[in-house]
């Protein structure tokens, strides 16, 4: 958005053809607009109508009104998938946000090896989610995994990381944190580097301790970034799918079954498209809710109009 505004201003200064330059950005947007309508917006609208039907792709769709939504809230597996997803968010979101901020602050210091550290922390993020799942499946193997091997040096008996209902979700959360924390670190790092040093120096000259500088200068100025990071992390973790699918398949005993995975199972393994679409709309409503919360917080903080 910032870039578009800059271009408009440049255009005005260069030849004064304000109207002409106002159209140009939209012309650039046309290819994406068509792709968006065809592959995102259109199917999303169609999905709503499908969610009002009972349909197995090949037969005739039968209109059932909001019955799929009613059934969903009486479906123990859906409730289980919803609570599992919220549990996963509880395990990952604080770690990803606070951890990401701490790492960003660390690698923002003028320390030796900070560039290498940034690279290493960010590196897992470029790995495909399925590969992440396979790597951690090996690490977490109960009997022959490397993690239990090292834990045995401390006298810890083998932990059934992926096959125990108590450990499976924390194990998936650990893998997810390792995989995605680098992204949050980068966002925080960009935010930290946007804060003028003069403000911190002024605070220090006034006698503020390091903690006071962080709490009264850095953190408030970092709040727009923090809000974005929190929202993105909430949205991404609510949609967790691939790493769970690879590492546990949703088991054991549905201990790691998530909402998106349940949607996949209903739609593409049981061919219950209407029911699957209803789940998709629940996810959609939740995510829209989160975005609205984000917007209202940003509005209050004055970061958007």
């Amino acid at each position: 958005m910032t870039q578009i505004i800059i271009h408009l201003k440049v255009g005005e200064v260069m030849n004064g053809k304000k109207q002409h330059y106002r159209i140009i950005p939209y012309i650039f947007l046309i290819p994406y607009f068509f792709a968006f309508i065809t592959f995102r917006f259109g199917p999303s609208i169609a999905g709503f109508f499908v969610s009002l039907t009972r349909w197995n792709i090949v037969g005739q769709a039968k209109f059932v009104g909001f019955q799929n939504f009613i059934d969903l809230f009486e479906d123990p597996n859906f409730i289980k998938s919803l609570t599992n997803t919220l549990y996963f968010m509880l395990l990952t979101v604080p770690a990803l946000v606070i951890g990401g901020l701490l790492i960003a602050m660390l690698v923002d210091q003028k320390l030796r090896g900070r560039y290498v550290t940034r690279t290493f922390v960010f590196m897992p993020y470029v790995i495909m989610s399925t590969v992440v799942g396979v790597i951690w499946m090996w690490i977490f193997d109960t009997h022959f995994g490397i993690l239990n091997y090292y834990l045995s040096f401390f006298g810890i008996k083998p932990i059934a990381w992926l096959s125990s209902i108590n450990w499976a979700m924390p194990a998936v959360a650990i893998a997810t944190i390792w995989w995605t924390i680098g992204f949050n670190m980068i966002l925080f790092l960009a935010g930290l580097q946007d804060i003028p040093n003069e403000l911190k120096e002024a605070a220090r000259i006034d006698g503020a301790s390091s903690w006071q500088v962080f709490w009264n200068v850095t953190f408030p100025l970092l709040s727009p970034t923090t809000i974005v990071v929190v929202m993105l992390t909430l949205i991404n973790t609510f949609q967790v799918f691939a790493q769970v699918y690879v590492m546990t398949g949703g088991g054991p005993a549905m201990a790691t079954l998530t909402v998106v995975q349940y949607m996949y199972v209903q739609s593409f393994q049981y061919y219950r498209l209407g029911y699957g679409s209803a789940i998709a709309y629940i996810v959609f409503i939740f995510l829209v809710g989160l975005i609205l919360v984000e917007r209202s917080i940003l509005k209050k903080s004055g970061d958007i109009n």
Binding site: T248, G251, A253, F268
Partner: protein, 424 residues
């Protein structure tokens, strides 16, 4: 001028028409062979294409679940493949949707009859008395063994069916803790086992299949004769689960909740593995592994082993020309399916199956094939026998074989869930 134009158009039409006629007829063939088996099928297709210049078959492979979703969507849009591979138990579901062409007369015209095929494979092509597919192969469970670990334990690998007791004794001798002790010996430490006797699947739907074959060994079917409800005696089901559960929790011969039984076997951490013939390419690829197979143990009165089989179907909505070409291709493929044995699958066609006897590691599968027990063949197969984590058969297997829960309540819960799906 006018004459010249007409002449030009006529010449162009002739050239274009000739070019069109010279193009081979295109056939789309879809299958779920994403491993080395896909390469074997690709070679067979290439052989057909090179010997039949008037037809060109293109094989598309992807995992079975997305393949079937793709098939449903393609069918909806009138773009079905000309040939679709699936498993015998998948036939009723797609046939009940009206997506498959009945092929009884075609199969008869090709000269095929029941006596020329493995019984389970032939029976797996019918739904409501109509034949919808050509049988291609059988794939069933068997026990893979590590020859070196057997020799080390002073054991001779069996070549035929053995009893449950014999199998258990072998598994105990092959299970060793860090002090070199076996289960049952004084001082044996189940928390520090360095080598297990048998790798069994317990986290996915194979746990249920291991149970299902033991139910069939007692002479019972999973569903009632009309396939509308669960129909086995609870006692028989309990006995089957108990045998499996004891391997994990009483005798400690199988690692609990193993994430990858195949890998554990390949690297020599377990001496035996119960799995299907699709793992044969992985066995061959593992450097230094000397392996073989024997049938699963006969724990109860009868010999029975879970198995399935690939079949070849011809979806509806195609013109006569493509239909005839597809029939010719599938007939050729079944008749030339001896090379398909290289994929690990056991050809269903008797003549072709003979070749499998000359291949290493097939003993267990060939000895087990006559006793193969397929899952009940019902239209709701994808939901009742689903491999998804929410599937009652998967959850029940995990509860009993991983969480050591009391068998009877879990089994009753599983039955209720299955009955609910069947009654929906």
């Amino acid at each position: 001028m006018k004459f010249k134009s007409v002449l030009l158009v006529a010449i162009a039409t002739v050239i274009f028409g000739t070019l069109l006629m010279a193009q081979p007829l295109q056939l789309a063939f879809w299958g779920g062979w994403t491993g080395p088996d896909g390469n074997v099928m690709r070679q067979l297709v290439a052989e057909y294409n090179s010997t039949h210049p008037d037809v060109h078959v293109t094989l598309t492979t992807m995992q079975w679940t997305p393949l079937f979703t793709k098939f449903l969507i393609a069918s909806r849009g009138g773009q079905s493949p000309n040939i679709l591979a699936m498993h015998g138990p998948d036939v009723p579901e797609f046939a009940s949707y009206g997506l498959l062409t009945p092929l009884g007369s075609v199969i008869k015209a090709a000269g095929f009859k029941a006596s020329q095929f493995a019984t389970a494979a032939w029976n797996g092509t019918f739904y409501k008395g109509k034949q919808y597919a050509f049988p291609l192969d059988l794939h069933l469970n068997s026990i893979y063994y590590n020859r070196k670990l057997f020799e080390k334990a002073g054991l001779t690998p069996p070549t035929g069916w053995i009893t449950g007791k014999e199998f258990l004794n072998m598994a105990i001798k092959l299970t060793i803790d860090k002090n070199g002790k076996h289960p049952g010996q004084p001082g044996f430490d189940p928390n520090n086992i360095v080598q297990y006797g048998i790798a069994l699947y317990s986290l996915n739907w194979h746990g249920f299949l291991e149970w299902y074959e033991l139910l069939r060994q007692q002479g019972y079917n999973f569903l009632n004769p009309s396939m509308t409800k669960v129909g086995y005696p609870l006692k028989a089901g309990e006995r089957a689960w108990k045998w499996l559960q004891d391997l994990f929790f009483k005798y400690h011969v199988a690692p609990i909740g193993a994430n990858s039984p195949l890998q554990d076997f390949l690297i020599g951490k377990t001496a035996m593995l119960e799995d299907g013939p699709w793992e044969i390419p992985a066995m061959k690829a593992q450097k230094g592994l000397q392996w073989g197979t024997f049938p699963i143990p006969q724990v109860f009165q009868h010999k029975a082993v879970w198995g399935s089989g690939h079949v070849l179907t011809i979806p509806i909505r195609q013109d006569q020309k493509h239909m005839k070409a597809a029939e010719a291709f599938v007939t050729w493929l079944v008749k030339h399916s001896e090379k398909w044995a290289l994929s690990g699958n056991i050809p269903a066609y008797n003549t072709a199956r003979k070749f499998a006897y000359s291949l290493p590691g097939r003993t267990g599968f060939l000895a087990g094939a006559p006793y193969e027990a397929m899952l009940p063949r019902i239209p709701k197969e994808s939901e009742v026998f689903s491999s998804a984590s929410v599937s009652p058969i998967v959850v029940a297997g995990q509860d009993i074989l991983v969480r050591d829960k009391a068998i009877l309540p879990v089994m009753k819960w599983m039955n209720e869930q299955i009955n609910a799906i069947l009654g929906r």
